[in-house]
Subunit: 341 residues, 2 copies
Amino acid sequence: MDERKKKVLLAIVKDFISTAEPVGSRTIARKYQLGVSPATIRNEMADLEEMGYIEQPHTSAGRVPSDSGYRYYVDCLMEKQTLGEAEKEYIRQRFSKRIREIQDVINVSAELLSEMSNYTSLIMGPYQKSERIKQVALLPLATDKALLVAVSQSNAVSNYLLDIPPSLTEADLERITRVWNSRLKGVAMAEIGKEVLDDIYQELYAYRKVIQAIVDVLLGDGDQSAGGHISLSGALNIFNQPEFKDLDKVRGILELLESPDVIREILANSPETGLSIKIGGENQVEGINECSVVTATYVVDGELMGHIGILGPTRMDYAKTVTLVETMAQQLREVLSKLYE
Amino acid sequence: MDERKKKVLLAIVKDFISTAEPVGSRTIARKYQLGVSPATIRNEMADLEEMGYIEQPHTSAGRVPSDSGYRYYVDCLMEKQTLGEAEKEYIRQRFSKRIREIQDVINVSAELLSEMSNYTSLIMGPYQKSERIKQVALLPLATDKALLVAVSQSNAVSNYLLDIPPSLTEADLERITRVWNSRLKGVAMAEIGKEVLDDIYQELYAYRKVIQAIVDVLLGDGDQSAGGHISLSGALNIFNQPEFKDLDKVRGILELLESPDVIREILANSPETGLSIKIGGENQVEGINECSVVTATYVVDGELMGHIGILGPTRMDYAKTVTLVETMAQQLREVLSKLYE
DNA sequence: ATTAGCACTCAATCCGATAGAGTGCTAACA
DNA sequence: TGTTAGCACTCTATCGGATTGAGTGCTAAT
């Protein structure tokens, strides 16, 4: 892979990303100064095609990057980009209001990501398990039902209806709450292990069933199945992409995005740390083989809180998308840390 | 409007609803036994067109019902329909589980409506204002923040973050809660008028600011702007409609449906009681002039709780849709009444 | 009043010609 | 040996014209 081939590949990828049209040798020679004639470029292109980096939709069309072409671009050719001052200012401004609980932060982030990228943004989290309990309360609703209210460090509130033995009085509930709060304030959900519980059991042996129910509900899939809340924004941006001018394709994608489980799967197999870029067929999830996904995680206090990502066509503006995802993950870390202090 | 014209119009509407193709005189003569020749039907059709009930996409095409044509069909020609036993059973079965709080009921209803109609279902409610308060609680989160938890008669839980004066102690909060619950249990939100409040103010004069904040948040747009929660299901069903095989049309509708406010507007101007059918241009909302909306309200205990509706193309199966909406509104009334007892 | 017959209209479909973009190959050139 | 100009070739997209077929409106006969 000599220098000139790289330049040609870079030109093809860039041009195709911005025009969505197969790019020919003449175009490259004209728009990108390589100092060689179209014929030479054609030779290089033939080589690149043989290497699998580009392909031809049909004999007399220009070349289009293949998945591996994009991969090579992303790994070796792409120049880092940084957000403009105006964009940074816009982000700051959007984060400057309405931030009381974590869900506000998540929603704003999702909107920002999709607005600024023109693709679809996905955010998963915060994960119940990495949250610290700030407070719980049990409100009696009926003789056999109570409402469990759990507030996390980040002011996320969860409610669960609990079935309780009718014998429990209001005073009982208050006592459970009092003990629980005194022992478990600030403890991460995941750490509510047996040791901690034993402590409480000792004191509240009579109520062990209720305690167990509370633990189950807090740890388990009380709210959502594994993976926390899903926010999605800009799903309809896919209508902007010329490669999705086909009704069935659009429908397929939109149907996938309707399922939180699919979104969890899309986001889930990205690494714990750093950025992940999945290009076209690299995606495990069936049905988004013409899409790429850029994901990152956000971490607070050393705990993995969730994943964020952008989904767009394989012909996405990787440089910009990567910058956006990175910036936003960073923003999330900062804003959430403040919220947690 | 003689008898035969009605028959011809009915045939046109029915045929177009089921085939989505303009219907010609020959088709009518063949498929619907009117005992007359195509030529006669053509004459009737010319008359019907002059009356504005049908129109021609172009000279050599068949006829298509106009908005007024559908209107006449709905008002005068449509035969009532009733759900099959299998369908009723399916509804019963879907309602037989997971019903603990009102939102469960709403979600199941929305899914059922869209599944069974193949159109898009919209549900608004329950309205905060018609809910009765079962219980409130104030949990201290920080020195200047408290969580207000309000549980309604139907076990709907709402959470609000309140800013409170740092001077308030935990005991203060408990006292407010106790007085509030003893005075206002079972009172409808809308009835928290000045008289009731005066009563509380008297007892808790020192806390009047907090009380006022609570009232504001419960009554006002604490949660959503006027109109309660919005559930939507089956938005992608419009991909099934041949008249929406155009990307831009689909996009337009889907964009509208992304906005809760638009949905509120669509549902809002339907009458307090009974069924409403808005056909095409009869809809006030810009952008759904090629759609029809069938709506009804659900009422519990004499209180208007919310609106439900189905949105589909003007060429919708009105008979079936009406039956579905009516059935579901009835179901909602029943299930919710049980939930409230 | 109804109907058969017929001329007419118009969208949709198919077909062939054309234009244009782009390639690969060959031969010439530095 | 690498580069380039030239050229024949391929394939898609587009456009116009002919054809088809469904359906109408009108007229004249029943």
